[in-house]
Subunit: 477 residues, 2 copies
């Protein structure tokens, strides 16, 4: 089903929302928790809880039924019991509400005849009454700029991402993770079983949405492989589409069937679709986030010749090995660069070269800026990768002051064009170190740098970035 | 060269240490920083700084030369300029000190004729004067139980690991990371250029050391491939040996040559050595730590049939896919287990099965303990993997109380024998979440559970564990 600008407006920027299925007592989840979050997030539109037994819910005036409402809400959020859903959808349509987010689960994903029948009836009702429905069994729409952030990071951060997902949980984790690193979302949607509007409908809409620059999808099933290929082939030419496919293994497929009723395709079939459609396939939550981040922060092509700046001989060796294993180039530097580098790098205990091993990188922001300037002038280098060790006692003695803000300020005063990427790792069990690592990542991310918690993840994301633009340029030629 | 118990005693449990090359002024690194750390760490033996121009250094009485010392120290730590090293080593031998840790760099690793000549002279001097030397260009010995923790995590944690490394920095990071998760080190040694005593000498010694249960090595070069195969074949039968080989790529090999003067072998040659020697090969710092952790915490074989416990449909799908991709089994549960599971798992919004998707797992310690009990009785399951989401606002509302301590207490009251492994991820840019994640990992790690910051890392470590014991049992048969 094609979504028109008016549909997108009503789903993602509704002027008012009715909540059907809001109990008075606080539960762990459901309509009430969504209502609570809309209040908290600062959503400025009208909130209309429907409950015939309450005057007020959470201090908001409640209405006995949809017919009693003083205006027609743009959107209804439905969380009633599954067997009540068809009649509520009909009531929405009668009140003029044709955009519904259905949270309720208990349909196809149960794998029971009853569930299947109920979902078929729901689809028929929506068709008959021209209701555009997101769901069932899903978290629905999310848009930080509209304060429509009932799930995911709160209050949410607007940004370039468009996320389409068959898992609310995965998308919550992704949006939260991205926001913590300064990477925001324009629109996200969790489509659940996707029985009326499915992931491809939103892919088509996001393709036409100028505010969505990078698209991320989590799919468990695809209703129409041909349409996916057609859409992805067209949209992927201007917007990277990063896809994680759940249910590629037998156990994953079994679980996906219980999760969203998906008949997950075989891996080989999916791989063929991905190859033809030229989407960017990833396999884990981390890779999904990493790829979205690098495309969001580095929108232009760059070749894969990396200058690795860090400290520690062993780290430099492993960083070089890792980049090579992931398919990147770590070329020797130009003679002029080496000459300058040798002048500012001690002979013993450091290594002037690529990778560069010099502890001063961690503690001396002007020095790091000088190194970046050298890389900028080296014609063999297209990208700068900085291993940014968190100050810690074992390496730095008592001096654990952090120079990240100074580093960012100096780098941003420069005129360079080559992307700079940071690696900041801190995933052990030291709470203080972990907090400092996260804070440093947040600073780099918020300043617009792609930042990763480990070299493997950074190298893999860089490789994906290069490959996407290579393919795209081949396609255009 | 074979290291005798007396050699190991003098290197790792010295009664006293002379420091040659300790300036009075504080520098960033060198003999003085080591002396400082030995003071801080609570090392109880004698500390003898040698400096003809000072009465006291850091409040410790200084001595004009080695000859003036009131006793013969077990160990000398030498940090003088490279060209002065041979004469200092001779002076050590004349004073009766035959165990030396040489920090100084500026030898083979420079790649210059002068460096090579100096290293050859050093080797000759050590042979002539029967000096057992660790170095040059290295951080030397480390043993928390002796408070010999001048580098690495301070004050350091004793434990089952034996670490042998050609990179001080890698080993520092490893020991710090391990200690933060409650995993300690019996002995570690950074051998640098390894010109007199090399990594294989310590491998042989650790093989005979009953306190070392799991061995980790970071190698850039191997002096004697045949000896490595012989030692690893023998020692690997009773102790897992986890090896990370630096310099497998061209760029890594180039850097290794500048780092430790290593002529790193080609990858194919190394792979052949690894296959024959049946060591456990890893490729990154993270995999190194993860493998050491799983072998330290799970010393007995278990088959690779995993029960995945967590919450979130999408997460469950991806966890299942990931385990399958890494070669693990995630089998359907036995009918009896399923029957019990269905009684305690809601039909809508959760999935009773393997993986199990039920949010209660995160917040309800008794519930988690019940699930583990069910898995304990299921004959098809050998290992339990728990995805332990950190409480966060997007999922849990305001309730962010942590139940880790309660969970551990309940699990430890049980009589089960199947290993339980935790995944706790929190590597974004939210400092509070990162700190809580690290604290939870530390709690599980300290309680003796293998804990990983992501599912891919957990699955890969489990697979390595299974494969090692499979190979070992085939070998014994």
């Amino acid at each position: 089903m094609q979504l028109m600008p008016d549909d997108m407006q009503k789903f993602f920027s509704p002027r008012s929302i009715a909540f059907v299925g809001v109990s008075r007592s606080a539960g762990r989840f459901g309509g009430l928790s969504f209502l609570t979050r809309y209040q908290e997030s600062g959503y400025a539109g009208g909130l209309y809880p429907i409950n015939p037994k309450a005057d007020h819910i959470l201090g908001i005036k409640a209405w006995p039924d949809l017919g009693a409402l003083p205006e027609t809400p743009d959107l209804a959020m439905v969380a009633v019991a599954a067997d009540k859903v068809p009649e509520v959808v009909i009531a929405c349509a009668r009140r003029g509400i044709h955009h519904v987010h259905l949270l309720t689960s208990g349909f196809d994903e149960l794998g029971s005849e009853q569930g299947n029948l109920l979902e078929a009836r729901l689809v028929a009702v929506c068709q008959e009454h021209a209701v555009r429905l997101i769901g069932p069994n899903c978290m629905g729409p999310y848009r930080p700029a509209s304060r429509l952030t009932a799930w995911g990071a709160i209050p949410g951060l607007p940004g370039p991402l468009g996320i389409i997902s068959q898992s609310g949980g995965m998308t919550q984790r992704l949006t939260e993770y991205a926001a913590s690193l300064g990477l925001g979302v324009e629109k996200a949607v969790s489509v659940g079983n996707g029985s009326v509007l499915d992931a491809l409908d939103f892919l088509e809409a996001f393709g036409q949405d100028p505010a969505v620059r990078v698209i991320g999808m989590y799919l468990e099933s695809v209703s129409d492989g041909r349409r996916l290929m057609e859409l992805a082939g067209r949209i992927g030419r201007t917007k990277p589409i990063v896809v994680i496919k759940g249910g590629q293994s037998e156990v994953g497929a079994r679980t996906a069937a219980s999760h969203t009723g998906a008949m997950a395709g075989r891996r080989a079939v999916w791989d063929a679709v991905m190859r033809q459609a030229k989407m960017i396939a990833v396999e884990t939550m981390d890779e999904w986030l990493d790829a979205l981040m690098i495309f969001a922060h580095i929108p232009t092509p760059c070749t894969q010749s990396v200058f690795i700046i860090g400290g520690g001989g062993g780290s430099s060796v492993i960083y070089g090995d890792t980049c090579a294993r992931e398919g990147l180039q770590v070329p020797p530097l130009a003679p002029g660069t080496m000459q300058s580098l040798r002048q500012i790098t001690p002979e013993a205990g450091s290594i002037a070269g690529n990778p560069l091993d010099h502890w001063l990188v961690f503690s001396d922001a002007p020095h790091l800026a000088r190194l970046v300037d050298l890389a900028e002038q080296d014609p063999g280098i297209s990208l700068i990768l900085v291993d940014r060790l968190i100050p810690r006692k074992a390496f730095h003695g008592q001096d654990d002051s952090d120079n990240t803000a100074d580093t960012i300020a100096r780098l941003q005063q420069r005129q360079g064009t080559k992307p700079i990427i940071f690696v900041v790792d801190s995933e052990g069990g030291d709470a203080d170190l972990a907090a400092r690592g996260a804070a440093v990542r947040a600073l780099y991310g918020t300043a617009g740098y792609a930042v990763f918690p480990g070299i493997v993840r950074a190298a893999r994301a860089i490789k994906r970035h290069c490959r996407y633009f290579e393919k795209r340029s081949r396609k255009i030629q």
